[in-house]
């Protein structure tokens, strides 16, 4: 019996999930995007996206490369602010409050992010987690917090004897779990994940998937993935993005369909979604 099965079977919420969705009693909305458009150097990258992110669910963004998923994801923690010449219009509400009115630094602490390529700081394993806590003025016991975070990503046993070693000595998968640990140590209300397993080998990716399965009921996660299996396996809702070419010839990202995972994969309402999620479908007819 492998880990995944063990985890899902120990997980009471997992079995009741489909009932919940069918009755459509939706959980609390944490993030709400209203008519969001982003342009880069005046050229539109994505347009008129509106969707809601629900508490303690994993929502995944799927779609072909260049459809603006990452750009959209980075709107939620205002990371696009750091890129010159990038402009966002529309509104994103975090617990009902417009994030434009909030302090970006505070938003980024409350909405954590994990990137495609593991990006641990070239510091010790311990400091990778501690630095965020220190900067944000954490008042508790640092050692305890570091240990708990590492335990929660399943890294503690592997690194407990080398906490002072440089994090770059870890394998890619371990680095990525360290990055997740670094993020959850700050107790974020939402975690953004931009293809967290894309740069990893299948074994490491599998372990991150295991971790996501465990986290799904306790964290609000937005997950970008190109891996449809991963989307089907770990997520509650799926948003499908596609590229459309506008009248001026720009490639603009659009939200095509947003629905519970099962609906997207089994019963999509849009033809383009169907073409994307069912391999070979576009050649069959």
């Amino acid at each position: 019996m492998n880990n995944q099965q063990a985890i899902t079977m120990n997980n009471p919420v997992f079995t009741s999930k489909s009932e919940q969705e069918s009755s459509e009693i939706l959980p609390e909305v944490i993030l709400q995007a209203e008519d969001v458009s982003v342009s880069y150097h005046g050229i539109p990258a994505l347009q008129n996206i509106s969707l809601e992110i629900y508490k303690n669910q994993i929502t995944s963004f799927i779609g072909p490369s260049g459809c603006g998923k990452s750009t959209f994801l980075r709107c939620f923690n205002r990371l696009n602010d750091l890129i010159p010449e990038t402009r966002m219009t529309g509104k994103i509400r975090f617990f009902g409050q417009s994030i434009r009115r909030m302090n970006p630094v505070e938003i980024r602490r409350r909405i954590g992010m994990v990137f495609q390529r593991p990006n641990p700081f070239p510091k010790s394993i311990y400091d990778n987690i501690a630095v965020g806590l220190r900067v944000n003025g954490y008042r508790g016991n640092l050692d305890d917090r570091v240990e708990t975070s590492l335990r929660h990503v399943g890294l503690w046993n592997e690194v407990k004897n080398k906490l002072k070693k440089n994090a770059l000595d870890l394998s890619g998968g371990q680095q990525q779990r360290l990055c997740i640990a670094r993020t959850i140590a700050l107790n974020p209300e939402v975690i953004l994940m931009d293809e967290p397993t894309a740069a990893l080998d299948p074994i490491s990716a599998g372990r991150i998937n295991d971790l996501l399965m465990t986290m799904r009921q306790y964290y609000t996660i937005i997950l970008i993935t190109h891996n449809l299996k991963q989307a089907a396996l770990v997520t509650d809702r799926v948003a499908f993005f596609n590229v459309e070419i506008n009248s001026r010839g720009d490639r603009v990202g659009k939200l095509i369909e947003y629905a519970p995972t099962l609906d997207i994969f089994v019963n999509p309402t849009q033809q383009t979604t169907w073409d994307y999620v069912v391999p070979g479908s576009r050649y069959s007819s």
Binding site: N3, A6, I7, N10, L79, L82, P84, N103, V105, E106, R108, R109, R110, G112, M113, F115, R117, P118, N119, F121, P122, K123, V131, G132, V135, N136, G137, Y138, R145, T148, S149, R151, H152, G154, N157, E158, L168, G172, G173, Q174, Q175, C179, R182, T183, I184, A185, L186, N187, L192, A199, L200, D201, I203, S204, R207, D210, L211, T214, Y218, Y219
Partner: protein, 645 residues
């Protein structure tokens, strides 16, 4: 095969086999020629080592190394000779220490501002302004130190001597600030974007991200910047010899006159030192000490820069995971944990204070960057105010004179232009040839890498060392050809100085030609040289030209090596293009400035200011030309890139 659509004649008779044999001969000859060019910088290094060791042997036959290291006096010009090298090194080090003390904070904060904060438009103005500071001829800084900074300091420190280490150190600090800032800026910009985003996504403010993430990662690069800047300060000659004085004092007191190693070399060079005299040996021994000091620092610095660049490249390339018992175990352990983590976290609500620090930090970095620009403006205005009244047509067309009203810079101007032409004619072919050989022919092995670092070091060797080399080699050994302390010797010295620069920039230009273009050239059956000649050089050409112009503007600002090789204060004729004239005495704008600053009368200081303006105009023209060429090239390249679908 008879399809008329494929009627391109493929018969081999269209390609001349005899041509091929000739082609290979030509290839070999060209390759050997390029290899010889590449050998010249190596020869120069060997010559430096050889000449200095040779002279030092004579010196140490008379003075024991123990005396050299322990004596507390330096009096080689007196009857009772004492040779305590620490007298000179103490001055050299205290000037360099003051300079570093000025340059490191300013340079580092400016680097942070330019790399992290500055909006594009601001950066486009401030960065060149700051970098212009290191392009100003050092003789101009000497002028600045002795005629502007020292009088200013004397208002605050009453017992400050007219010559002192403090003012020399402060001004040298301004000179080396751009070195600290531009290398540190590169180091900061090399920090991968992913790591910055990692910091921001944990809720760091910009300042926190800079201090906690970016600077620690860029640290080795910053150390390298400081090392290279310090080395430049140690070898700085004109500022030290003009502003710090020529009084060998074993002291670390920055307020009294001292004599640095470089100042001693200039002091001795100004008189006519007979070859093989003991003073001559002393000169080279002292020079050798300076060479060793700066050379070892440069090696350290360049090694650090490379190591840091490699480290940055190696960052965040994930390695494969190995399943182990402990990993499986910790994975199983997750399932039994209580998610999520303890949510009753106490984060200090001090965001307003953190952001106030951020704004303070930003203003600090901005203000320090502006210091550079302000210094530039002060320098320019003071020189303009003094120089403009003297600057007129007769100033440009008269020879130097004892009488300030009649004096002009005709001989100096022509001398400088002559040197530029000769230096270009000698250094450019050799430099480009050497660069082609090193970049396109020599395999990329350890030897090549060592050579690359070595060239960077040669470029950073204090120019006075080249001056001494020229004195021994070009002016004495090659006297039958060069005519001794002549225009030709000076051109050879300047060529040796700029040669490493030309090679480095040309290599950079060649390296910027994409590998795919080389493959395309070889793919259509070109030989190595044909590929270089038809594809690579044309594509690299604009950048090569830019590098050459920058090297020329460096050559034009040199003073110390020309004094060492024997530039004279007064010349009453203009050399023409004949061997006899090239073998004649010479003077240049920079040496003319030096001799005029050394005069006590204020009228001559004004003449110096006017000469600085003329020199500045030439350097400025060259630089503008270089920048325009680069921009033109970038634009062209940018258009090409945009045309791609």
């Amino acid at each position: 095969m008879n399809d008329p659509r494929f009627s391109l004649n493929s018969s081999p008779k269209h390609f001349n086999k005899g041509l091929l044999v000739g082609l290979f001969m030509r290839e070999r000859i060209i390759e050997v020629g390029l290899a010889i060019a590449a050998g010249i910088p190596v020869l120069i290094s060997l010559a430096i080592l050889g000449v200095f060791l040779y002279e030092a042997t004579f010196f140490f036959q008379e003075v024991s190394p123990w005396q050299f290291l322990t004596d507390t006096q330096w009096t080689p010009l007196f009857a009772s000779q004492k040779f305590g090298i620490f007298v000179l090194t103490s001055a050299t080090f205290s000037i360099a220490a003051i300079a570093t003390f000025v340059a490191v904070p300013i340079g580092l904060l400016a680097a942070i501002y330019l790399a992290e904060y500055a909006p594009q438009q601001v950066r486009r103005i401030l960065k060149p302004a700051l970098e212009t500071l290191s392009g100003i001829p050092t003789i101009v800084y000497g002028y600045f130190a002795v005629l502007l900074v020292t009088p200013l300091l004397q208002q605050f420190i009453p017992n400050l001597g007219g010559f002192n280490a403090l003012s020399a150190g402060l001004v040298t600090g301004i000179l080396i600030t751009p070195i600290v800032s531009s290398i540190s800026e590169d180091a900061i910009e090399n920090v991968p974007m992913e790591l910055r985003e990692g910091g921001y996504s944990l809720g760091f403010t910009k300042r926190e991200n800079i201090l906690r993430v970016i600077l620690p990662i860029a640290f080795p690069g910053i150390v390298a910047a400081i090392t290279l800047a310090t080395s430049r300060a140690l070898g700085e000659t004109m500022i030290a010899s003009i502003a710090a004085g020529q009084n060998p004092n074993l002291t670390l007191n920055p307020l009294v006159p001292v004599e640095s190693i470089t100042a001693f070399i200039i002091q001795v060079s100004l008189g006519d030192v007979p070859a093989n005299s003991f003073l001559f040996h002393t000169l080279f021994t002292v020079g050798f000490v300076l060479f060793l000091l700066t050379f070892s620092l440069n090696w350290l610095g360049h090694w650090l820069v490379r190591r840091h660049e490699q480290m940055m490249k190696g960052l965040s390339i994930p390695s494969i995971e190995v399943e182990s018992d402990s990993s499986r175990e910790s994975s199983r352990a997750i399932a039994s944990l209580n998610f999520p983590l303890d949510t009753h976290l106490s984060f200090e609500k001090a965001l307003t204070r953190r952001q106030r620090y951020d704004r303070l930090f930003l203003s600090l970095t901005l203000c320090t960057t502006l210091v550079g620009a302000i210094v530039l403006v002060i320098l320019l205005t003071s020189v303009l105010l003094q120089g403009i009244p003297v600057l007129d047509g007769s100033f440009l067309t008269s020879f130097a004179s004892r009488n300030a009203e009649d004096a002009g810079i005709y001989a100096a101007l022509v001398g400088t232009l002559w040197l530029l032409v000769l230096t270009a004619a000698i250094a450019f072919p050799i430099g480009v040839g050497a660069a082609i050989y090193l970049e396109e022919y020599l395999p990329r092995n350890t030897f090549n890498h060592i050579l690359e670092i070595h060239l960077a070091n040669l470029a950073a060797v204090p120019s006075i060392i080249y001056g001494l080399l020229g004195l021994a080699l070009f002016a004495r050994v090659l006297q039958p050809i060069t005519g001794g302390r002549s225009l030709l010797s000076a051109a050879l010295v300047l060529s040796s100085i700029v040669l490493p620069l030309v090679i480095i920039t040309t290599r950079g230009a060649l390296r910027s030609v994409p590998q795919s273009q080389r493959q395309a050239a070889f793919g259509v059956g070109m030989t190595q040289w044909q590929a270089i000649h038809n594809v690579i050089l044309p594509s690299a050409f604009p950048r090569i030209i830019t590098g050459m112009l920058l090297a020329l503007s460096r050559a034009i600002g040199e003073t110390a090596p020309l004094i060492a090789v024997g530039a004279v204060a007064y010349i009453s004729f203009v050399p023409e293009f004949s061997l006899g004239d090239l073998q004649s005495n010479f003077t240049t704008l920079t040496t003319q400035i030096f001799y005029w600053i050394a005069r006590p009368q204020k009228e001559f200081h004004n003449l110096a200011a006017a000469t600085i303006l003329v020199l500045g105009a030439i350097v400025f023209t060259i630089n503008i030309f270089a920048v325009l060429l680069r921009d033109f090239y970038r634009k062209k390249k940018g258009e090409l890139a945009n045309n791609k679908p």
